[in-house]
């Protein structure tokens, strides 16, 4: 069982979520996050004075069994990639246990 964290462009979220849904992954956590990458360090300008600002990105988090992880990562990348700087990251993190609060069940689904 793994946790896949995908930091993607906000506009790509609908495409990513529908691709995940087609893989049978329906439970998704979406958060709005800010940050910067190695090559994307946006500079803001307020009345002529520069400041470092962060890009708005969206983070999708899904928990899935190990045999689905490869498909999930590919689907997310295929559906969010533009090829420009600032496309984001996909992280795969091992999960020890995951519980559903309603059913008290342990497991990915």
């Amino acid at each position: 069982m793994k946790l896949v964290k995908c930091i993607v462009r906000p506009d790509a979220v609908p495409d990513a979520t529908s691709a995940l849904e087609r893989l049978g992954v329906s439970g998704i956590t979406v958060s709005d996050v800010r940050g910067r990458g190695k090559r994307t360090r946006p500079i803001g300008d307020f009345r002529g004075v520069k400041y470092e600002r962060f890009l708005s990105m969206s983070m999708l988090e899904v928990i899935a069994p190990d045999d689905l992880i490869d498909d999930i990562v590919r689907a997310v990348i295929d559906h969010t990639r533009t090829g420009e700087f600032g496309d984001g990251r996909v992280l795969v993190i091992p999960v020890e246990e995951a519980y559903s609060i309603r059913t008290r069940q342990c497991g990915a689904a």
């Binding site: 906000p10 506009d11 709005d32 800010r34 307020f46 490869d70 295929d78 533009t82």
Partner: protein, 549 residues
């Protein structure tokens, strides 16, 4: 602490007592005459302020009739000036209403850009209007008696065809200079300028979230210097639509009291042409052509803006008498609010029944639609007709928003085409149907009052149809060609990458909300082709492995 509070209370009580005693003691002394100690008398009721002593005469004991008449005449015109100017100030504030409605109905990532367009159309439009717009529109209007004459505006360019005269544009008042340096001409400029800006700010809503800033500026000048002034001249400046009655016997000519056609239909048609040429926003329509909702980011802002607009409309319509002494303003103002009510209430029930919920954006558009529609007929109809006009507008705005969104597939983020275009047309046509003949004696130089089709004058309805058709064709074609030319020269639309990022940073260099995370702004799971414009669409779910995965 407690002791300090006690001391403070005592001081306060002492001060209040002193104030009260001083009033009790001094009031009887000063109410009617000079106080015993020589203090000038106050006039708390206002009954003795403004008397015969305030009429300037040479010899106070023997005032001449001429002297009194002069004061009366001056006051009559002064009331009209103050009324016209104050109404103009109210209309100017409608710019804030438009800015809030349009920004509220669009996404946070474009908020600084949308707001800036609505902000800058005011000075840009005014500059163009001062240079030549006003002269082209009102330069041949002649003397407007309620403003005491505007006599310097006396030169209209006319064509004579088939024995009839067609006024095309005015020729006096460029830069408000020469002998147009005149109070009446200036008052009229202020009032007409804010109307022109209202028309100018309508297309910014329909073309929001994708309009290149430089192209928008060119538009601002074209609107304020060419298209609006020409159509305005034909209706309000003594041009050929106004003289349809005198020349061709069509009622009183094209009658538009406060601008359903001159302001709103012009803005709406420019918005329609612009929205067609610039195309829908990325992600607005799916590959199969299905309409996808792109919710506005601040509905409370949009509704507050609607209130500001409804308030400003009390300047827009009643102010168009240009005369505070014309007591028809009471009817005009009441009709205006009634039609706004009809639009809002009917749109609420209708959209509730049609779509399941009383959608707040439709409540706002419903009220605006009623207000737009009553703008032309407000002075010529009774209260029942005003309500009917508003109700029909409430129906029209809901259906036309759905039509443009789902059938015509013209992306109009705020509904400007439906609110201002469709209901602007309905407004001028409704005048031709419902004008009740109570007002407008001698309008456009035709004797008798203005009557609509249902009150016995079919030719008035014909004149309204000619005016509406002229406006639709002339403005739409002008702006369609204009936007196509701009497209070829500098481009109307930002790049796809800029549109995805939001226009705030790439176009304006500043975010509206730098302290906040900006979300997707598009609902989940719509399956739209948002990223496909920047990258090749994924071939399948199991693609060939690239450099990594």
């Amino acid at each position: 602490m407690k002791r300090r509070a006690m001391v403070l209370m005592k001081v306060l009580a002492a001060a209040l007592l002193t104030l009260w005693f001083s009033n009790v003691i001094t009031t009887p002394n000063t109410a009617h005459a000079q106080g015993a100690i020589g203090q000038p008398a106050g006039d708390p009721t206002g009954a003795t302020t403004g008397t015969a002593a305030d009429v300037p005469v040479k010899d106070a004991k023997n005032p001449t009739l001429t002297e009194v008449m002069e004061t009366v005449g001056h006051n009559r015109i002064a009331i009209n000036f103050v009324w016209t100017l104050l109404a103009g100030f109210l209309v100017m504030f409608m710019q804030a209403g438009f800015a809030m409605v349009e920004t509220g109905f669009t996404r946070a990532k474009n908020a600084a850009h949308t707001m800036s367009m609505n902000f800058m159309i005011y000075p840009i439009g005014m500059l163009g209007y001062w240079i030549c717009g006003y002269a082209l529109q009102m330069g041949g209007v002649g003397a407007i008696s309620v403003l005491g004459g505007t006599a310097p505006l006396n030169s209209e360019f006319t064509l004579s065809l088939f024995g009839h005269t067609f006024g095309l544009f005015g020729q006096k008042g460029f830069f408000l200079s020469g002998n147009t340096y005149d109070v009446g001409v200036f008052a009229l400029f202020l009032f007409q300028m804010v109307f022109m800006d209202t028309a100018g700010t309508i297309p910014t809503g329909a073309m929001a979230e994708r309009w290149k800033w430089s192209a928008f500026i060119v538009f601002g000048f074209f609107m304020s210097m060419v298209v609006y002034p020409l159509f305005g001249n034909w209706v309000w400046g003594g041009g050929w639509l106004a003289t349809l009655g005198k020349e061709f016997g069509l009622g009183h000519g094209h009658v538009d009291f406060a601008g359903s056609s001159v302001v709103h239909l012009v803005g709406g048609m420019a918005a329609l042409a612009g929205a067609i040429v610039i195309g829908p926003r990325l992600g607005k329509y799916s590959k199969t052509g299905e309409s996808i909702a792109i919710p506005g980011h601040d509905i409370p802002m949009a509704l507050a803006g609607t209130f500001i607009l409804a308030f400003g409309w009390f300047g827009f319509n009643p102010g168009s008498t240009l005369a505070g002494g014309d007591l028809r303003i009471a009817v005009v103002a009441t009709n205006t609010m009634l039609a706004g009510t009809g639009g809002a209430v009917f749109a609420m029930f209708y959209v509730w029944w049609r779509l399941g919920k009383p959608d707040p954006s439709m409540l706002a558009n419903g009220m605006l639609a009623g207000l737009v529609a009553i703008t032309a007929p407000c002075a010529f109809v009774n209260s029942v007709s005003a309500m009917i006009i508003g109700v029909v507008a409430g129906f029209l705005v809901v259906e036309s928003v759905l039509f443009f969104d789902r059938v015509a597939k013209i992306d109009d983020p705020v509904g400007a085409i439906s609110v201002h275009g469709v209901n602007g047309a309905w407004g001028v046509l409704s005048l031709g149907l419902l004008a009740d003949g109570a007002y407008g004696d001698g309008w456009n130089g035709v004797s008798g009052t203005v009557k609509g089709l249902f009150y016995g004058d079919a030719s008035q309805f014909a004149a309204q149809c000619v005016g509406t058709l002229t406006c639709v064709v002339f403005v739409f074609v002008s702006f369609y060609v204009f936007f196509k030319v701009v497209d070829a020269l500098i481009g109307n639309r930002v790049s796809a990458a800029v549109e995805l990022e939001g226009l705030d940073i790439p176009e304006m260099g500043a975010l509206a909300y730098p302290d906040f995370v900006l979300g997707p702004g598009t609902p989940m799971g719509s399956g739209s082709a948002i990223v496909s414009s920047a990258s090749p669409a994924p071939a399948s779910l199991k693609p060939v492995r690239g450099d990594a995965i």
